[in-house]
Symmetry: C2
Subunit: 478 residues, 2 copies
């Protein structure tokens, strides 16, 4: 055991000197070094790790520099009020759900929501109604919400207080948010958007529109994912129809009272950078991305998804895709995971993989050399190394609910063999990775279809969260 | 308005080049530069701001380097399990209270608890019974819990599930935690300790014992306050009688799923530093502190509190004091606030002030020159500049409770003149700063005594949180 396991692990990783096609958006610090202001910030970052001394304001009662900076953020994104978050989009998701809903409220939520959304549902004791995700057969991945199912759900549950959607998802794919908002507003429902991956949206016509501009009532953005700010820093944008006193309370409650000035000053910088150069640098980024998309698409067995692919795949609705995300799709029988690993061996760090795809997050701070490295690594890729037993993404019909998620928290539970679980109430989420879409959520009844799916993923050597090494799952003691 | 308000504000502050007697514990980065390992960390800090790539583990499901480092932390402090917190002691206080208590539980809690403790009481819908704080007449400040009141309370409420105490408080003063734990255990109550200011305790016999060693069931420590780690980083230590599954869930729920590796690697470093050098460097720090305590005490009108002062002040119980905290007490009619401001003008940054005292946080990374600067600034201090209308800290008897704090959250409220508020239920905390001890908490009935106190503090030009500029307070609409 190392005496400094984390420090040593990080230093070892830095030594690999990988091309950064993963988070955070500043790409190894490069994002701070392209401007004079950023260089000054970079130089003073650690010395600037100070506490709330006179003159530097207080995040929890902002009256001077933090207030000013948050107002500039509000003006840039066009919200009613905007907040800096130093506890990530996680705290934003918690705060927005706590602010908008009361205990016992029914809400409509994407099945494949972020864990923090589901945690908020438990902590606030809400009644979730899930919108199914849709599977792209062509790309063998869950790509967005099933709009038909959403329209059915929203008609069936007119008493729901609001809906929570992800825009875009991890693949950079955007649901038809404009249509979702229109429909929700007709039903007097609030629209809460987890736009963790969309902080750069709306800065160019080449990018999807920002969720704030499309009229969402409250929007969370992980600044750190795509902008030059430090990991764990995020933005929350609130509309004028939301109770600001509640938002103030919950944002504060879920945030350290010793917030990092390092994180806050990079949130200030990221806003400034986007305001002054956002459009230009993102358009340049998209230009170079498009060039390499074509080059890579000319290679055998690789295909990078485009806006056009998505629009064709989901015709009838206005789906869209982030032009700064590469989803490299592989032909059948080649594994996305193997490709991610191969690229890491070639010093190219990707963001994530599933069975058939690898996802890369591009940024204005990726230089041409980065793309060249990626291109040549792909060109030289010995495809036979990527061969795998092919497995197809399956998604089941949603199981019956026997208990609300929060009710499960107080129940006794025990482990049971998968085959013996039929009819039991699950005490855990059962989620195959990939694709990360839950088969069963806590409080739902384990049915035959669910068991068959769990077994399918296990037989295909997928990791299934919620299934222990003895192939048992946790169910409620009745 | 500056185009980069926060970045510019921080850089301006750095330019002042103040002697660091405030948080964080690394003192402008010095804490990382006294060892070879720390220098390597410092150099790689920003580049090390990475995401959960292969090889660097995942805080929310720690299996390799983060798990190893947390185990080393556990071994060092002697807990059953220890956690890294990247959302400060705030998230630790939330997680420990959520893990230990169920909705509706009665708990005994220090009146002057941290805001996050009170927020947890609201969010978890607990029934708080407050322990009064005790005022030191000699030092004109609230110094600890009133042990007599605690013993009365614990006898009156045997059904309480646990108690939450602060150890030490902001002044570095420690209640008789051993006696508190003994009494609570006799009553089968859990003892939860907010030891935000005590991460360095127990590393020398010159320091108070650590709350973990004294047998507390669960303990939160702000590593960043007194150890070489970045602001917002903290530790949580859990005993073997606590439900670890619950702690895992709540720590995770209140923590960003994109936790900062910068924060985590400094938590790793701070643990390593304390393990290898903690005793030695803190004993050296205390040695030099003692020398300058004497020197400063020889100056007219300044007196730095010592362990002996505290023991004399609170005889009968085993109170204690942190030897690495300077509480500079001023003679009557001199203002602590004015002294803090004067010292800042002399480039000495203190941590906080009240009417009669200034608090400084000393660390092994303060060099002799820092103390010299402090000493000469005090020696040259034109005392007449510090003159003020003297006001005495008052603490009222605890008001009657009409409603639980969380119940207030859903009620309509309105502003009313202070004088007209008698008999109303407060919808807000009313807290004079200093001393920061609440006069009224949400749900409590505003009585004559409370109104007289509020007026006393306002007449003495103290800021009273919860009283607006029109001298109105928020009460429940009935």
């Amino acid at each position: 055991m190392s005496k400094l396991p984390i420090v040593d692990g990080i230093i070892d990783y830095i030594k690999e000197d990988n091309v950064p096609f993963s988070m955070p958006g500043h790409k190894n610090g490069r994002g701070f070094l392209t401007t004079e202001e950023g260089k000054k910030l970079y130089q003073s970052l650690i010395k600037g790790d100070i506490t709330e001394v006179e003159g530097v304001d207080n995040l929890h009662n902002a009256e001077s520099i933090i207030k000013e900076s948050q107002e500039l953020l509000r003006d840039l994104y066009g919200s009613y009020k905007s907040y800096f978050l130093v506890n990530g989009s996680t705290s934003g998701n918690l705060a927005m759900i706590f602010s908008c809903f009361n205990e016992g409220d029914k809400i409509i939520v994407e099945r494949n929501c972020h864990r923090s959304v589901f945690n908020a549902i438990i902590l606030k004791k809400l009644r979730p109604i899930y919108i199914k995700n849709i599977i792209s057969k062509a790309y063998n991945a869950p790509f967005s919400i099933d709009m038909e199912h959403f329209l059915k759900i929203i008609d069936e549950h007119p008493e729901a207080k609001g809906i929570v959607v992800t825009y875009p998802n991890y693949y950079g794919i955007c649901t038809d948010l404009k249509a979702v908002i229109k429909r929700a507003k007709e039903k007097n429902m609030l629209v809460l958007v987890d736009s963790a991956h969309g902080a750069h949206f709306g800065f160019s016509s080449e990018l999807p529109e920002s969720a704030v501009k499309l009229g969402a009532d409250i929007v969370v953005m992980s600044a750190h994912k795509t902008l030059p700010s430090l990991t764990q820093s995020a933005y929350l944008h609130v509309g004028d129809n939301i109770d600001i006193n509640k938002v103030n309370f919950y944002v504060s409650a879920f945030t350290s009272t010793s917030p990092s000035y390092m994180l806050m000053s990079t949130l200030d910088y990221a806003r400034y950078f986007m305001e002054t150069q956002g459009r230009q640098v993102f358009e340049e980024c998209i230009k170079i991305a498009n060039i390499y998309r074509e080059k890579i698409n000319s290679l055998q067995s690789f295909h990078i998804l485009s806006r056009e692919d998505i629009k064709k795949e989901f015709s009838g609705y206005n789906y869209d895709m982030d032009a700064t995300r590469f989803v490299i799709h592989l032909d059948n029988n080649y594994s996305g995971h193997e490709l991610l690993e191969y690229l890491r061996g070639r010093a190219v760090q990707c963001e994530m993989s599933d069975d058939s795809n690898v996802v890369l997050i591009l940024s204005p701070f990726n230089i041409e050399q980065d793309y060249e490295k990626l291109y040549y690594a792909l060109k030289q890729c010995p495809l036979e190394q990527l061969k795998t037993d092919f497995s197809r993404v399956l998604i089941n019909d949603l199981p019956q609910t026997a208990m609300l998620p929060y009710e499960v928290m107080d129940k006794d539970s025990f482990q049971v063999e998968i085959d013996e679980a039929v009819g039991s109430i699950s005490a855990a989420s059962i989620v195959p990775y990939p694709p990360g879409v839950p088969i069963i959520m806590p409080g739902e009844i384990v049915d035959e279809e669910a068991i068959n799916m769990i077994k399918y993923y296990l037989e295909n050597n997928k990791s299934v969260l919620g299934v222990n090494s003895g192939k048992k799952i946790l169910v409620i003691k009745e």
